[in-house]
Amino acid sequence: MNINEQSKWYELTTGAEIFEPATSREVKTGEWRTRTPVFDKDKCKQCLLCVPFCPDVSIPVERGERFETNLDYCKGCGICAKVCSFGAITMEEL
């Protein structure tokens, strides 16, 4: 099923039913963002406090280390920058 914002009314499913799981991944909420978190790896102590605070689960972690914010889903709320004690995240108009 490939339903998107260009689909015509008769191409949608009856009653807007969704026949597959995890279709929320298709919705790139990063488009809503007006400000973007810029991550400074050198200042980061890998305390990982930003990770649980991110409401969109957009900060990927592997083996105890955080990586660049996933901008496909980051809505630019700025909570990560606010909670970072080391100034490793700044919000910028990009």
Partner: protein, 398 residues
């Protein structure tokens, strides 16, 4: 099979013959007897339905939505404030395209509190996306109920089968019932394509519809409602073959050469017909148009039925508070807009029968007399009037 039954019992009996999967219901006058009779059928082992006793109508409709989404045939029954309490869920059922069947026993909405018949409850939710079919008598409400599922399940739209509180719901009439096996084969098994309990197909029902999708979803609902008209005729034709009783979107009574007509919904049509018959004997060309299906609105049928009539009264058993007439009047008048001027009747709105106010044959005689005066004058003096209100000089007394 001939029997005598109240309208409520007739509906419960039809439910028993269909043996649906789930009923979620909360009692409210005057529809209480429907779940009451049906509970007895369950207790006696005559049906296999799962009855969910809920704490409110909001939950009754939620139960139906859940059950229907799960793949079950789901039913309920309600009236008045109960229907009002379902309001937000009515739209959920309709937009999720769940073919729930609801027996509505029409009763006035509170303010002042009143338990008697008018159509303010179902007229209030006329724009919720449900098909609405109304009955004149007990036979019709039984017949309409048997036709409900073949219509709703084909169109994937929920449907209300309405009857007048107390007037038909509690009055006992002779009624022609169909045999169980005939009803079962007519209604058939419910076999939805997608449903929550289908284990090989994960399914989400009722997703958030953001602006880029919402209008497309509404358009699909609107198209389904337009197309339901053909299905209503198709089911009525099959029903006529089985039962010998014919139905359409509207019923025209003595309308072929009528000069004066009343247009109305429900049990009062019987009273209007009696008045029209009497007037015909006196040489007055009176006719009656009964609206059986209100949603989808039978605008083409009404336009054709009223073509060439001199004067007509469109009668609403609910107040629209538009300051310009009731809802049936407004939509009927709109349906006549495309008629050429010479064929367009003089039209007026009559609000009648609110909160159980009685209308009799003599009321209709007064209405036809008034229509004759209007036709003679060639103009409608007061477009929006009430029937039988004390001290109302612009209204109809009778």
């Amino acid at each position: 099979m001939r029997d005598r039954m109240s309208g409520n019992e007739a509906v419960a009996f039809a439910m028993k013959q269909i043996d649906p999967d789930v009923m979620g219901a909360f009692p409210i006058t005057p529809s209480t007897e429907i779940p009451q009779y049906f509970s007895k059928y369950i207790a006696d082992g005559e049906v296999h339905t799962e009855f969910v006793a809920v704490e409110s109508e909001h939950s009754a409709m939620s139960t139906c939505i859940g059950a229907s989404a799960a793949g079950a045939r789901a039913i309920t029954a309600t009236s008045s404030a109960g229907l009002a309490y379902m309001w937000e869920l009515l739209y959920v059922a309709a937009s999720s395209r769940l073919p729930i069947v609801m027996a509505v026993v029409n009763r006035a909405l509170t303010g002042p509190i009143n338990i008697n018949n008018d159509h303010s409850d179902s007229m209030g939710c006329r724009d919720s996306g449900w098909i609405q079919i109304y009955a004149e008598n007990n036979q019709e409400v039984y017949d309409n109920y048997i036709q409900a599922m073949p219509i709703a399940e084909h169109c994937r739209l929920p449907i209300m089968i309405c009857q007048d509180g107390f007037i038909t719901s509690h009055a006992v009439e002779n009624i022609e019932l169909l045999e169980d096996d005939k009803v079962r084969s007519f209604v058939g098994e419910y076999d939805p394509e997608h449903y929550l309990l289908k284990k090989d197909e994960p399914l989400a029902v009722g997703p958030y519809g953001i602006s880029p999708y919402y209008m497309e979803i509404k358009k699909a609902q609107a198209e389904a409602m337009k197309e339901s008209r053909a299905r209503i005729y198709e089911v009525a034709e099959a029903f006529a073959k089985m039962s010998g009783r014919s139905y359409g979107m509207i019923e025209e009574y003595m309308m072929d050469d009528a000069d004066f007509a009343v247009v109305l919904i429900g049990s009062s049509a019987g009273t209007a017909k009696a008045a029209a018959r009497g007037l015909r004997e006196a040489g007055v060309k009176a006719g009656v148009v009964k609206v059986r299906v209100f949603r989808p609105f039978p605008w083409e049928e009404l336009r054709d039925a009223l073509r060439g009539v001199k004067a007509a009264a469109v009668m609403d058993k609910s107040e629209g508070f538009s300051g310009w007439g009731g809802p049936l009047f407004a939509e009927t008048r709109a349906a006549l807009y495309d008629l050429e001027e010479s064929a367009r009747p003089l039209l007026q709105s009559l609000v009648y029968g609110l909160g159980g106010r009685d209308v009799t044959v003599s009321t209709f005689e007064a209405i036809y007399e008034d229509l004759a005066r209007t036709a003679k004058a060639g103009t409608v003096e007061h477009v929006y009037r009430h029937v039988g209100v004390r001290g109302d000089e612009e209204g109809i007394q009778g």
